[in-house]
């Protein structure tokens, strides 16, 4: 999209550059001398109280330019003394100079084309709009008049349906008269020329839109969907309403993709170069295309988060500031007590860990026991760093920091003016949230353990997010969480969820949905943090980071934390609690080894190794459900055949990610209709089948890492009635991963025994 750009001269002798979706709203704001939000400039960033500053001049620089350019102008803008003496020609020169890089790229893409610069920047449309001495200029008047559209047109519109008014365009020449005492939408039309009513309409609209955007990070298309569902009366005026909320500092206007300067490599030849990053998902952006929406020939768009709607240089990204929660100490929630844990019926091991996590939540902010890492899971640099230091450092050495993806983008996220306002949009270089790892063995009952944590945060007035990488897990968790918190509204979010735009203090979502939030939550719980697709996806880690408030807390749940996090645990860099025993108080089954030929060879010879067959017969005889994990999908079919021929008395099926009947087969397997299920790592987690034994064939395959071996082994012995399921690693080789998995399982059992969690 395109947006207007203007500057105001503030009374305290400096200039401020603003981007506007509807410059008429800004001009009215200016005429009423409501004052502009300015950073307080206090000592340290966090005391930075925004102030309102009155203006004495307003100059329109361009009525319409690519939004991304306007935003980068604003983000790079620095007030200079000589600006007081500038005329329009100087301002035009300034803009062309400030956008040098963008214009240069444009020139390269448009070989031989003339005058595109004028068309793109529309600098000739600028001019003085208002001064405190002379009042509104002719240009300002005509701007307001133009936007007014005239009473007559408004009257014509009165009789038309809502569809027509929406079709009128996003500029919203008329607003539906929804300001009735009862809040009922009347369907009448407010003409823009009717100043008083218009003002009121925009004011109310701004309030509603800001409330709907609280803690959100939405692209224009997403905002439109939200409006259609929740605030259809705002559709014709959304631009004005958003702009009004922006002026109040409640909504940040920015672009989906922005340039972040970074070093072009290491070593002496490294030169700074412009890199584009997606502000929503943090990914580097490489694709640039001509854009019919902003007119630029090289509008960058992000391919990484395309599935969530297209983020691009000229895409409007709106972020609403979240309401601050009163500090826990003063609230009614108070410090957590053991009694909080009673109602959940936790096992001793669960209770131990949950109470450690509660203590972590109750720690006063700003004094976490362990150093934090702003990069979340997998981040590479540890060690505490005072916030003030890193800010000063970033300012002085802009090139020194941006090697890490989050850093290079974060400072630009905040608009200078709205920074720190109303406790929401944070200043650059915010400290990382503190993190806590709940390392709970498979079958420990993680879900029950998070209930007291959710409860505590909700009681202290906070917002809670429970995120998990997979949609089927979300659907499985939803009823359990709903049951645990019957009086709390729960929004369940995933691709295609009908609750997408609903407001709730307790949210359960897939990790992808986190991209739609910004500084929204006081507690973010990430389940199965080492599972696909969250694990090793910096985009989702970035989204998780962004969704949490500065003062918020992270709790990670995993049975098999990634290597990096295990290292942090060993080095004491992350607070954690281990749940070493299952809820039923029996030790984890330790995998045993069978030496057999690779599956490939067995299939070629059409023979089942006798050692494997013997073990399978034992399992069949003890009436166990048998999981057989293989490393490759192509082995499933022939192996199932081979097994069927050998064990003709029982039903044997194979399933994989490519099987449409997977869900049914898993159900049949649980119901013991199917006795033997040949599958891949697709079923390594999230499946609980009572009385099951696990066979992992080709356990030496490099497709099975330590984590997935532990997870697969964790399918056995989960029920109270059959806690001692059997696990077999069948392979010719004994690999590091297998050794590691066995070691991990044994050490958890040892800890559990020492702490007395085992029967």
């Amino acid at each position: 999209m395109r947006a207007a750009v203007y500057v105001v001269r503030l009374e305290r002798a400096f200039w401020k550059l603003m981007v506007s979706l509807d410059v008429g709203t800004d001009l009215r704001w200016c005429l009423q001398q409501r004052g502009w939000l300015v950073d307080g400039g206090g000592e340290g960033v966090f005391e930075n109280k925004p102030q309102l500053e009155r203006s004495e001049r307003m100059i329109l620089l361009s009525a319409s330019m690519p939004l991304g350019w306007g935003v980068s102008l604003r983000d790079r803008f620095q007030s200079r003394l000589e600006m007081d003496r500038w005329d329009m020609r100087d301002w035009r020169r300034y803009i062309v100079d400030a956008l040098k890089r963008e214009l240069e790229q444009e020139r390269k893409l448009r070989t031989g084309e003339l005058l595109y610069e004028q068309r793109l920047l529309e600098l000739q449309s600028g001019g003085l709009l208002w001064t405190s001495q002379q009042g509104i200029t002719a240009m300002g008047e005509s701007l307001l008049g133009q936007l007014g559209g005239g009473r007559k047109r408004g009257a014509e519109k009165m009789s038309l349906g809502i569809g027509e008014a929406v079709g009128e365009g996003a500029w919203g020449r008329q607003a539906y008269d929804w300001i009735t005492a009862s809040g009922v939408v009347m369907g009448a039309v407010v003409d823009r020329a009717d100043d008083g009513r218009w003002e009121e309409a925009v004011e109310v609209g701004a309030r509603r839109i800001a409330a709907a955007l609280e803690g959100r990070s939405l692209l224009e298309a997403e905002l439109q969907q939200l409006l259609v569902e929740r605030l259809p009366e705002l559709l014709p005026v959304w631009r004005s309403a958003v702009q009004h909320a922006h002026l109040q500092g409640r909504v940040l206007i920015t672009a989906g993709v922005a340039a972040a300067t970074a070093r072009g490599g290491r070593g002496p030849l490294a030169r700074p170069r412009a890199r584009y990053r997606c502000r929503r998902c943090g990914s580097e952006v490489h694709s640039r295309t001509p854009c019919g929406s902003c007119g630029s020939s090289g509008c960058a768009y992000c391919e990484a988060c395309l599935a969530m709607g297209r983020s691009r240089s000229c895409a409007l990204l709106l972020r609403g500031s979240a309401r601050a929660v009163p500090p826990a100490a003063g609230g009614t929630g108070g410090a957590p007590t053991e009694s909080l844990l009673d109602r959940w019926g936790l096992s001793p091991a669960q209770r131990d860990a949950a109470s450690a996590a509660l203590r972590f939540l109750a720690q006063p902010q700003g004094a976490p026991a362990a150093p934090r890492d702003r990069h979340g899971p997998g981040g590479l640099h540890g060690g505490p760093r005072p916030a003030a230091w890193s800010i000063a450092h970033a300012a002085r050495f802009p090139l020194a920091l941006p090697r890490q993806r989050a850093n290079s983008c974060a400072p630009a996220l905040t608009d200078g003016h709205a920074g720190a306002s109303r406790g929401g949009l944070a200043p650059p270089g915010r400290p990382a949230q503190s993190r806590f790892l709940l390392w709970a063995v498979t079958g420990a009952g993680k879900t029950e353990m998070i209930f007291p944590l959710i409860d505590y945060t909700l009681c202290t007035g906070g917002r809670v997010l429970v995120a998990t990488p997979r949609r089927d897990v979300v659907l499985e968790l939803a009823p359990r969480i709903g049951k645990a918190f019957p009086e709390q509204k729960l929004a369940v979010l995933y691709g295609g969820s009908s609750q997408r735009w609903e407001e709730a203090r307790l949210i359960l979502a897939t990790t992808h949905q986190l991209m739609r939030f910004y500084h929204a939550f006081d507690l973010v719980i990430i389940d199965e943090l080492d599972a696909f697709p969250y694990h090793n996806d910096p985009m989702l880690a970035f989204a998780a980071q962004e969704s949490c408030k500065n003062t918020g807390r992270f709790i990670f749940l995993s049975a098999t934390p990634p290597a990096q996090m295990q290292r942090e645990v060993r080095q004491g860099e992350i607070e954690h609690a281990k749940v070493p025993a299952r809820f039923h108080g029996h030790p984890l089954p330790v995998p045993r080894r069978i030496r057999i030929d690779p599956v490939e060879n067995c299939l070629r010879r059409h023979s089942l190794p006798s050692a494997l067959a013997t073990a399978l017969i034992e399992s069949i005889q003890r009436a166990a459900q048998i999981f057989i994990f293989v490393s490759r999908i192509r082995h499933i079919e022939p192996l199932t055949e081979l097994l069927r021929r050998r064990f003709s008395g029982i039903r044997i099926e194979g399933t994989s990610s490519q099987d449409e009947l997977r869900a049914d087969k898993v159900l049949d397997f649980r119901a013991t209709e199917i006795r033997m299920l040949v599958t891949t790592t697709i079923l390594e987690r999230g499946v609980t089948v009572p009385k099951s034994d696990v066979f992992i064939l080709d356990a030496d395959s490099d497709l099975f890492d330590e984590a997935s071996l532990v997870q697969m082994a964790g399918r056995a012995g989960r029920s109270k009635d059959d806690p001692a399921g059997r696990v077999w690693f069948a392979s010719p080789e004994w690999t590091r991963s297998q050794r590691g998995a066995v070691r991990q399982i044994r050490s958890m059992n040892t800890i559990a025994r020492k702490k007395g969690f085992l029967h």
């Binding site: 999209m1 694709s287 295309t289 768009y301 395309l306 297209r310």
Partner: protein
């Protein structure tokens, strides 16, 4: 520097075999793709899965299977000569187009353009066999426009990309001649009659359409033969869009005192 760093360093990358991801299925493939017919971005499996229409069964609309629409007796006048399409519109192609058009994955654009080129070669050969005109069969290429609102939202017109792909082979200028006066709802849910009704008057000439065409006419000032224009669209379903646009193109040419022959090529035929 740990081993991990070394393994992920650029030095190590130099020694690794060069790979890329397949544009359509996302799997790691060797760089250069399948390489068949200049398709360097997709893997062999994806290339093979493309349901090309090499021999159209219906001589009019280019459908690969028998076509009741065109053979129906007593049907209304048609404003275009023939249509040819690149692929059959199956589930996989629908997904490709959806990725490109609705999700906005513009990196698929070059692939689509490449597919158009291939189909254009076939179409030109067929036309030259029939008419004897071997070079410069088309005087100009134009495409089905999107509405302004759609353009602002989406940022591009998929038919325009396809038109440039076709122009590359047909060696004719791409002319932007039409505009969409209003936005129409998605066509996929309507029958033929509803479509025709709704499309009435939707396509208008752009303000300087006549000027653009006159330049074409200048190239062959005394010719009495009709102007041959190629119209490009993404999907041909009932032919109503193509027909309505063709009518609008006839109008423009008629006002300039020239008769026209409109041909159509689409990326998919449903």
């Amino acid at each position: 520097m740990s081993w991990k760093d070394i393994l992920s360093s650029s030095l190590h990358q130099l020694l690794a075999p060069s790979t890329q991801t397949c544009l359509t299925c996302g799997k790691m493939i060797r760089s250069g793709g399948c390489g068949v017919n200049g398709f360097t971005e997709i893997c062999a499996a994806c290339y093979v899965s493309i349901p090309w229409i090499t021999v159209p069964r219906c001589p009019v609309c280019g459908r690969a299977v028998g076509c009741p629409d065109c053979s129906r007796a007593g049907q209304a006048e048609r404003y275009f000569q023939i249509n040819r399409s690149v692929v059959q519109y199956n589930a996989a192609m629908r997904e490709w187009l959806a990725q490109y058009k609705f999700r906005g994955r513009e990196s698929l654009g070059p692939l689509f353009a490449q597919m158009m080129k291939l189909a254009m070669r076939g179409m030109l050969k067929e036309l030259s066999d029939r008419s004897g005109v071997s070079r410069g069969f088309f005087d100009g290429i134009t495409f089905v426009p999107v509405s302004e609102a759609r353009m602002l939202e989406r940022g591009f017109n998929q038919s325009r990309t396809l038109a440039y792909g076709a122009a590359n082979v047909a060696k004719a200028p791409v002319l932007e001649l039409l505009e969409r006066s209003r936005h129409t709802e998605k066509q996929s849910f309507k029958n033929r009659k509803q479509r025709l009704l709704e499309l009435k008057g939707v396509f208008k000439p752009v303000p300087d359409a006549a000027g653009k065409l006159e330049k074409v006419f200048l190239a062959q000032p005394y010719s009495l033969s009709p102007v041959r224009l190629l119209l490009v669209d993404d999907v041909y379903t009932t032919g109503s869009t193509v027909d309505t646009c063709a009518l609008a193109l006839h109008d423009i040419c008629g006002k300039l005192g020239r008769s026209a022959e409109i041909y159509s090529v689409t990326w998919a035929r449903s």
